[in-house]
């Protein structure tokens, strides 16, 4: 029983970080209708910024964490301006966006490998202490708890922005129909930048958390494939869907590793993706598209 609870908590913790990344995908997808495959590169850069802020610049964790988040927020905005904005201005087909995104992703990964940073795996300094919390006989890693708490708080803040602020209403309206939103006086260019910025902030947070959980290396961004699965699982473009899909994926993964074998973990994840695409392509809570004539 305690094993079961432990797996569940691990799953929640991993799932909540997947959610940070999946929400970034979904935000961009909801407005621009393409999957931003450069997101993984942004997460990877966030991971490195956090790492070097703490090691080379000796920043305390909180400062390093914020630096990483702000850095990737800015990076995501830059990527939009350089890689997507020119395509948008030309009404390019969505395939071009995906190609551009992949280009950015490859560029980011290789610039790290080619730089003095190199392809080495690096380990974050320990921040939260090694000894686990023991609650009712269940061992819970401190890092896992912090991952869950930080991710959940970030998501709550994001939901507040989206649901309760004027800009958030503009984002929701733009997600439904960008042109109608422009007709209401929304500066859609700015909304798109804000969406990339928000996604970038969350990517930085996810990058630091994953760097701490595993290690930092140039391909760590590949982990976003999982959050992409989660976003599709929940329904691309739907934020609640992205969160629910991520949590479920996190739990399914930890249970697979715990009770079957960790070698099956990714296999199960991708089988799940194919299964959803076949059975329910719009995911659990896909974007509402009905509109009355």
């Amino acid at each position: 029983m305690s094993g079961f609870l432990q797996q569940l908590i691990n799953g929640l913790s991993i799932g909540s970080v997947y959610a940070l990344m999946a929400v970034g995908y979904s935000l961009v997808y909801s407005i621009m209708n393409f999957s931003n495959f450069a997101h993984g590169g942004v997460i990877m850069i966030g991971s490195y910024i956090g790492f070097f802020a703490m090691t080379a610049f000796k920043m305390p964790f909180a400062t390093a964490f914020c630096t990483a988040a702000l850095g990737t927020g800015l990076l995501a905005v830059l990527i939009e301006r350089i890689a997507y904005s020119p395509l948008r201005k030309r009404n390019a087909p969505f395939l071009y966006f995906i190609i551009s995104a992949m280009g950015v992703s490859i560029f980011l990964e290789n610039i790290i490998i080619a730089s003095p940073i190199g392809p080495t795996f690096r380990t974050y300094p320990r921040v939260f202490g090694a000894e686990p919390f023991v609650v009712a006989g269940v061992n819970i890693g401190r890092l896992d708890v912090m991952m869950f708490v930080i991710s959940t708080l970030s998501l709550i803040i994001l939901v507040f922005i989206i649901e309760k602020t004027r800009t958030g209403m503009g984002i929701r309206a733009s997600a439904y129909n960008l042109r109608a939103s422009a007709l209401m006086g929304v500066n859609t260019d700015r909304i798109i930048l804000i969406v990339f910025g928000l996604g970038g902030l969350l990517a930085g947070i996810a990058g630091v958390l994953f760097g701490m959980k595993y290690t930092v290396y140039p391909q760590i961004g590949n982990i976003t494939l999982k959050s992409f699965i989660a976003a599709v699982f929940g329904g691309l473009g739907s934020l609640p869907g992205a969160v629910i899909g991520s949590i479920l994926l996190g739990i399914i993964e930890t249970f697979t590793s715990g009770y079957l074998s960790s070698q099956f973990r990714d296999l199960i994840a991708f089988v799940l993706l194919i299964f959803i695409l076949v059975v329910r392509p719009r995911g659990l809570m896909g974007k509402i598209t009905e509109e009355k004539a």
């Binding site: 004027r166 209403m169 503009g170 929701r172 309206a173 997600a175 439904y176 129909n177 042109r179 109608a180 939103s181 422009a182 007709l183 209401m184 006086g185 929304v186 500066n187 859609t188 509402i288 009905e290 509109e291 009355k292 004539a293």
Partner: protein, 235 residues
Amino acid sequence: MLRVENLNVFYGGIHALKGVSIDVQEGQIVSIIGSNGAGKSTLLNTISGIVKPKEGRIEYRGKELPRVPHRVVKAGISQVPEGRLVFANLTVKENLMMGAYLRRDKKGIERDLRSVFRLFPRLEERINQMAGTLSGGEQQMLAMGRGLMSSPDLILLDEPSLGLAPLLVKTIFEIIEDIKRMNKTILLVEQNAYKALSVADKAYVLEQGRITREGSARDLLRDKTIQEAYLGKVQ
């Protein structure tokens, strides 16, 4: 108030507007009639800054109108688009607040919200409902109410009667006249030529991207060729 001069617009290789010029006087309802694909929506979308013209001038209150949608709204022109385009994932209240997106004057917004509810009492009954659950007629009302919420001086109405039952069409046109009485100027694009000419002060006929006729709505309503082509009357 609004002067469009020699507008030329290309839509993916198609010459959609060919030297269109129109003139809208303050306080009037000006109708543009024409068949499907004549370029009516393109004209409104060009004024709204959604479509960029290749050539031509759009002047509003004596100044060149900006070519960016949100600046056009800021200048005092709102559009109620064809097919309503209400935000189905937002509530009725939120849709109306989207109309007031650029405004900061809380009191003015509150006042305009009350006047929209006076015009469309049905919307107040459904204030917290998702717009996607409204009927077609209600969505049209919401789109019009939303268009009023930016407190525009000029409203561009694109096919407000499209797909509505005859009784609702009558209601919508009564409301268009109510909006005129609120000191708003209206540029109306319609396939329902009879209704559009009945409420208008002035009208233009748009055919294959060209203005072929213009004049007072009353004269056009009596004109034999117009009657044959657009009003379905056989002489």
